[in-house]
Symmetry: C2
Subunit: 354 residues, 2 copies
């Protein structure tokens, strides 16, 4: 049966990517070798890495603007640490919009003072704080663009003369933004870019080299820039599949085209959440995420029935995170509109049947 | 044409593993989903992680002996840093047997005093130093069991009451050792265990928790032990393929059986290196690696001819590292004896033809 995969991450990728990614395990580029057994220094893989880096910058509109794209290991959690290692001299400003922001703040505190400029913890992170100021002595400002668990998303970013650092793990490549406003963007691959195991870091070079501490080689962005993400063996396959996914995105028409699709999917499900008396949305309306729609049953007694319905229909990964409960429909780039339509139909069927 | 893959890493894996690994990209466990799109918290993947950890300990003979197996990101280079973060309070002892030892020493120096107990740098690391003593005030002793670049391998390890830490990236699972003598073993997957992107760490729990510094979450072995390698999203696919490779190794008869095969391959090529007047071995005979045979032409003018011969025969990855020149035949677990025989035949053919 065809599955409708709403998993919050790792998540659905384009079917064409799976086909090509499967073939490359058996024979990569007609080399007679699997992509898993070739040297990362081979011409074939070096060209994969270069294309992945180049596509990332191109799709974000950041080519020839002083940025480098890196593919590193360790996920966003490693970036919580690397950001502070590389940028935090004395004090940093963080916006706390959920679990991942909180973790980023925790790691940064080992390196200096952290000022939490605002937090939405008072309402279980169901909104994005809007009025806050960034201290004039901050080394940088850090925020999380999309909060997978709570289903909120920043629609606007503060104007600031401080380096703007953003964890875009769960919404990079999903909507148009002026990415040149950001000085450092990082994103674990496993939402809109590829499989788990690699992390994209896009960094403006001129913000580096300003802290006085000695930085271990693997923690130092300068190391990875100098070696073009090949200081040590990279996550070859995860980078390859990311490159395939970025190629796919470019062929779809890039971020502008995919954003139009993402808008349609989000409008469809949020309209049903608001219309259907059995459901209520979790996130504040103005902060709703295009990627992760979080919603709960008004009457929890319908849970067993609804769960049976979506399981029978081949829906995967729609349970909400334990911090929020209910449901979470993650609608990343590769999820077809028809999968969202199916869930909307199931919500309507539930209404008819109860 | 069938390829004979002598790549130093990433390197050849068993053909059966490639088949199953390719299929799982299209449909994992008959779930209707790719292994690349499932949650790392799904029952299917949790069971992969558990089996990988369990197989690693079982194959090393370390079950129920106080060890934990972790699958982390970042390669051995990240372990250079994590070892020091977790274990270096004041002073550590390192044996320097090559490029990777030197890099490990460099990173450790950021955390405390490092005593290099011995080094073979004087002879371009073509041997393993034997007589050295480990200072009584060392927090631990660190060594590299196999030196991929130079083709040397430690046959014996020092008896010491200090925690014994070993980078076994390029020879783990290839030969029997009393692994219970070691307190921390780490190994990038991309030789005998799986694809690039995950790193096995086997650590005896009682050596942890003895340094006074605060350790960032991602650097702290205790974090990863507490979360069973799932503190954050692991490198799902690399762990899966590692699990398949460990299953394969167990089915072959485990380390004892594969060591017998590895001995045959090594004896075959070293016998030819010693017999054939056109070639000379690089590493000291008593320290020769079972994994990486390094050898040079006595007369470099034959290089063009020999290179044409092995390329025409479908040999891949046999060029030596730039630090040593000549050739390096990496003969990891999955390389068939027939591939080594082919290279030996080519060496004989060269002798006949020049």
């Amino acid at each position: 049966m065809k599955k409708h995969n709403f998993s919050a991450g790792p998540c659905i990728l384009p079917q064409e990517v799976f086909q090509e990614a499967s073939q490359a395990i058996l024979d990569f580029n007609n080399s007679g070798l699997s992509i898993l057994e070739i040297s990362h220094r081979s011409a074939d893989f070096v060209s994969v890495m270069e294309e992945a880096q180049s596509l990332a910058l191109e799709l974000l509109g950041l080519k020839d603007k002083g940025y480098k794209a890196l593919f590193l290991q360790g996920g966003a959690s490693m970036q919580f640490l690397m950001v502070a290692y590389n940028l935090l001299e004395k004090k940093a400003a963080y916006l706390n919009t959920g679990t991942w922001s909180s973790k980023a703040i925790k790691e940064a505190k080992l390196f200096g003072e952290v000022e939490e400029v605002a937090s939405s913890k008072d309402k279980n992170f169901n909104y994005i704080p809007k009025s806050y100021s960034i201290p004039s002595d901050a080394d940088y400002f850090h925020c999380t663009s999309n909060n997978t668990i709570f289903g909120t998303q920043m629609k606007e970013f503060p104007a600031t003369d401080k380096p703007l650092v953003c964890d875009m793990s769960s919404d990079i490549f999903s909507r148009e933004l002026d990415f040149s406003k950001f000085d450092l963007i990082y994103a674990g691959a496993q939402k809109n870019m590829g499989p788990a195991g690699t992390t994209l870091v896009v960094v403006k070079e001129d913000i580096l080299g300003k802290v006085s501490r000695e930085i271990p080689s693997m923690m130092d962005y300068a190391t990875h820039i100098a070696k073009e993400s090949m200081f040590n063996t990279p996550a070859v396959y995860a980078v390859y599949v990311s490159m395939l996914t970025l190629r796919w995105l470019k062929a779809q028409g890039g971020i502008k085209a995919i954003e139009a699709e993402n808008n349609k999917k989000a409008e469809l499900i949020y309209a049903e959440i608001d219309r259907n008396p059995l459901f209520k949305g979790f996130a504040a309306k103005e902060d709703r995420s295009l990627m992760n729609a979080t919603f709960n049953l008004v009457d929890e007694s319908h849970k067993e029935t609804f769960d049976k319905m979506w399981k029978a229909a081949g829906v995967n990964g729609i349970n909400g995170h334990r911090s929020v409960g209910g449901y979470r429909a993650s609608m990343y780039n590769a999820l077809p509109l028809e999968s969202v339509q199916l869930v909307v139909d199931l919500m309507r069927d539930l209404e008819k049947n109860v």
